[in-house]
Amino acid sequence: MLEVAHLTVAYGGVVALNDVSFSVPEGAITAVLGANGAGKTTLVRTISGLVRPRHGSVLLDGAELVGRSPESIARLRVAHVPEGHGIVSELSVDENLRLGGLWRRDRAEQRVAVDEAYALFPPLAARRRGPASGLSGGERQMLSIGRALAARPAVLLLDEPSLGLATRLLAQIMERLGSLVAERKLSVLLIEQNARSALSVAGQAVVLSLGRVVVIDEAHRLAGDEALRHAYLGF
C-alpha cells in the first residue's frame, strides 16, 4: 500500500500541492482527477522522487520514499509512466522494454518479463527491432506501460495515459491493465484529465483542485454525483 500524507510541494513561491493525503490500496486503481494545473503531474513526480516536497511523506508498505533518489525509488518497485510516454526514442523497441527491468539483474527473469510485455501488447512484438521513434502514439503508450510492467512493479504511476490516444485503443489498454491489477496485486495511481474513462476503471478517486484534495470517494459514487461532476470534472 502506498500512503501519501500531508504532502506539500512548492516551486519557488508557487504552491503546487498543499497538504495532500490519501492512500492507494493494493489490487485496485486509484484515479487522481482534476483540471490542468491542479497538481496531478507534480504529485506523481514527487512520489517517484523527481520532485522534492517541502513537507509530508510518501510511505510504501511503511518505508519512507521522500528523500530517496528516483533510481532507488524505482528499485523499490515503483514504476512511473510519465506524461507524454517517456520512451527513449533513440533506442529500439526491444531496448526500451529491456530497460524496464534491467536493475533487477536476473537475466532469465528479465527476458520473461519482456516477453510478457510483448504478449500483452502484440503490436510491439512486430516492431521489436525497429527504432522506438517509429512508433505511433498508441504504440508508444503501450511501450511505456509495457516497460513499466516489465519491472514487475508493486506500484504503477500512470500520468495521463489517455493523452493523444483514440478512445478505443485507450479502452483496450485499460482493459488489459485492469486484469493485471487484480492478478498481480498492483497498486495503480492513474492520473487523468479524462475523468469519465478514469472513473470507469478506478476503485476510488481523488479529486485535486489548485493543489488541494477536494474529494476522496469511491469512483462509482463520484461518477453518479452530478453536482460534483459539474463542479470539478466538467462532465
Partner: protein
C-alpha cells in the same frame, strides 16, 4: 606515386590518433553535452605517468597499461570532482572548468616531470617494413597504432551496443530523467562514460608521444585536429568522428607533404571552415542544434 603512398600511410596513422581523441570528445559530448577541452592535456599527463614509471624500471607494456588505467581514473575523477558539481548549471560552466583543467595539467606536468622535451619509446620499430626486398610504406609501429585504436573502437562498440551496461549508458546519455525513473544510476553511468573516454585519450597520448615527443603541450595540436574531425563528423556521431578525423589526418599529411609542413595547421583550419560553412551540422550531423 611513392610520395603519395608515404603521405597516405602517414595520414591514416596520424588520423587514427586524432580519431581516438575525436571519439573521446564525442562520447563526452553525447553523455554530458560538454566539450572536454582538457582531453589532450589529460592524455599528455597519463603519458607522462607511463614515461615516469618506465624510467624507474617498470617494463614498457606494464607502463603502457598503467597509463591506460590512469586515464580511466583521471576521467572518472574529473567527472565526479569537476563536472558533477556544476551539472545543473549552464553547460558553459563545465566547459570553462575543462579549460581550467587543461591549464592546470599543463602547469602541473613540468613541476612533476620536468619541462624538457623527452623522447618516448615506441613499442615497435618505426622503420618501414620490407617484403621480399621491396620497401613497404609502413612500419610495425604504424600497424600497431592503427590496430590498437581500431581494437579499442570495436570493444567500445560492442560494450555500447551489445551489453546491458552499454544499454544503460546509452539510456542515461539520451534521456537521463527517464533513465532514472527506470532505476538506472545515471551518475555512475556518466562517470563510467568519462572514464572510458579518458582511456581512449590516454591511448592516443601513448601513440602520439613516440612521434611528437613528450612535453607538456605535446597534445595541444592533436586535440585541435581531433576536435576538427569530431566537428566534421557532426559531434553526435561516433562513426562521423572517426571518418572526420581520418580525413583531417590525410588532408594534413598531403598538405604538409606536398605544400610544406608549415601549412599543415592552416590546412586543418581551412577544412573546418569549409565544413562549417557548407554543412554546419557536420557531415554526419543530425538535426539537433549544437551549443557552446
Amino acid at each position: 606515386m611513392r610520395a603519395f603512398l608515404i603521405y597516405t600511410v602517414d595520414g591514416v596513422t596520424n588520423g587514427m590518433v586524432y580519431a581516438a581523441v575525436a571519439l573521446a570528445l564525442v562520447m563526452i559530448w553525447r553523455a554530458t553535452r560538454i566539450i572536454n577541452y582538457a582531453q589532450g592535456a589529460m592524455a599528455m599527463f597519463t603519458t607522462y605517468i607511463a614515461f615516469f614509471v618506465i624510467e624507474h624500471g617498470t617494463p614498457f607494456w606494464l607502463g603502457f597499461v598503467i597509463a591506460l588505467a590512469a586515464g580511466l581514473a583521471l576521467g572518472a575523477v574529473t567527472e565526479r570532482v569537476l563536472v558533477r558539481p556544476v551539472e545543473s548549471r549552464p553547460a558553459l560552466s563545465a566547459v570553462i572548468l575543462t579549460l581550467g583543467l587543461l591549464i592546470f595539467l599543463e602547469a602541473l606536468a613540468p613541476m612533476l616531470f620536468g619541462a624538457q622535451v623527452q623522447s618516448f619509446p615506441a613499442p615497435f620499430s618505426r622503420i618501414d617494413l620490407t617484403a621480399g626486398g621491396t620497401q613497404l610504406y609502413f612500419s610495425r609501429f604504424d600497424i600497431f597504432t592503427v590496430g590498437s585504436v581500431l581494437c579499442v573502437m570495436v570493444l567500445l562498440f560492442v560494450l555500447f551496443q551489445r551489453t546491458t551496461i552499454g544499454l544503460r549508458m546509452r539510456a542515461a546519455a539520451f534521456n537521463p530523467e527517464i533513465a532514472r525513473i527506470l532505476g538506472i544510476r545515471v551518475g555512475r553511468m556518466l562517470t563510467l562514460g568519462w572514464a572510458l573516454a579518458a582511456l581512449l585519450g590516454a591511448l592516443a597520448g601513448l601513440l602520439a608521444a613516440p612521434v611528437l615527443f613528450l612535453y607538456p603541450t605535446n597534445m595541444d595540436e592533436v586535440l585541435v585536429f581531433g576536435f576538427t574531425g569530431a566537428i566534421i563528423g557532426g559531434l553526435e556521431s561516433p562513426v562521423g568522428a572517426v571518418v572526420g578525423a581520418l580525413g583531417v589526418g590525410l588532408a594534413l599529411s598531403y598538405v604538409s607533404g606536398f605544400l610544406g609542413s608549415d601549412l599543415a595547421p592552416l590546412g586543418s583550419l581551412l577544412i573546418l571552415m569549409a565544413v562549417l560553412m557548407i554543412r554546419p551540422r557536420g557531415l554526419f550531423g543530425m538535426t539537433r542544434q549544437r551549443q557552446v
